[in-house]
């Protein structure tokens, strides 16, 4: 599924909303998650999962093609942990 399909599905169930508004709603949600993370905040969505940011220290990496050393500066990386309910839905008990 891609974003436009997600928008289509939600628009179909909400015939009172303009398609372009549904698009704005989906983008508002996604943008808010990214905005929060860029401030170092966590976003915890019960039943779905939690987005957080982890810090990575600077290190000396290597260009795999040439083998030469390259300095990789410290950076922050996004991290997602699947929520319990979603994990259970992916693995229904037999």
């Amino acid at each position: 599924m891609i974003k436009s399909e997600l928008v289509d599905q939600i628009a179909e169930k909400n015939p009172h909303l303009y398609h372009r508004d549904v698009e704005r709603i989906v983008n508002a949600v996604l943008d808010e998650i990214v905005r929060a993370m860029s401030e170092g905040d966590r976003v915890e969505l019960r039943g779905f999962g939690a987005f957080s940011v982890k810090s990575r220290q600077a290190r000396t990496g290597r260009n795999p093609r040439t083998g030469s050393a390259v300095e990789v500066s410290a950076k922050r990386v996004p991290f997602f942990k699947t929520g319990k309910e979603l994990r259970e839905r992916l693995n229904p008990k037999a």
Binding site: I25, V29, E32, E39, D41, F80, L90
Partner: protein
Amino acid sequence: MAGKTLTRADLSEAVHRQVGLSRTESAELVKSILDRVTDALEAGQSVKLSSFGTFMVRSKGGRVGRNPKTGEEVPITPRRVLVFRPSQVMKNQINGLEGGDED
């Protein structure tokens, strides 16, 4: 770094502010977005949200694990796990960089 935790309520508030829907309806829409994504993942589909990231379901085979405390062997059954791959846009924004390639 602030270190706050946002919840569904904060996402609903963002929808309310930016799109102008009522708080109740904004909350319902946030829920329905997460539900649609969950349904797709449950059906084994990947969910690719451009400039955000991709959620993928991976199947893992069974293996023999070990309780690290007791050393006891425990079977781990085959299961499906969810992997999130952030887009370059998200990675850049989190590091205070501009934009990035659409993906």
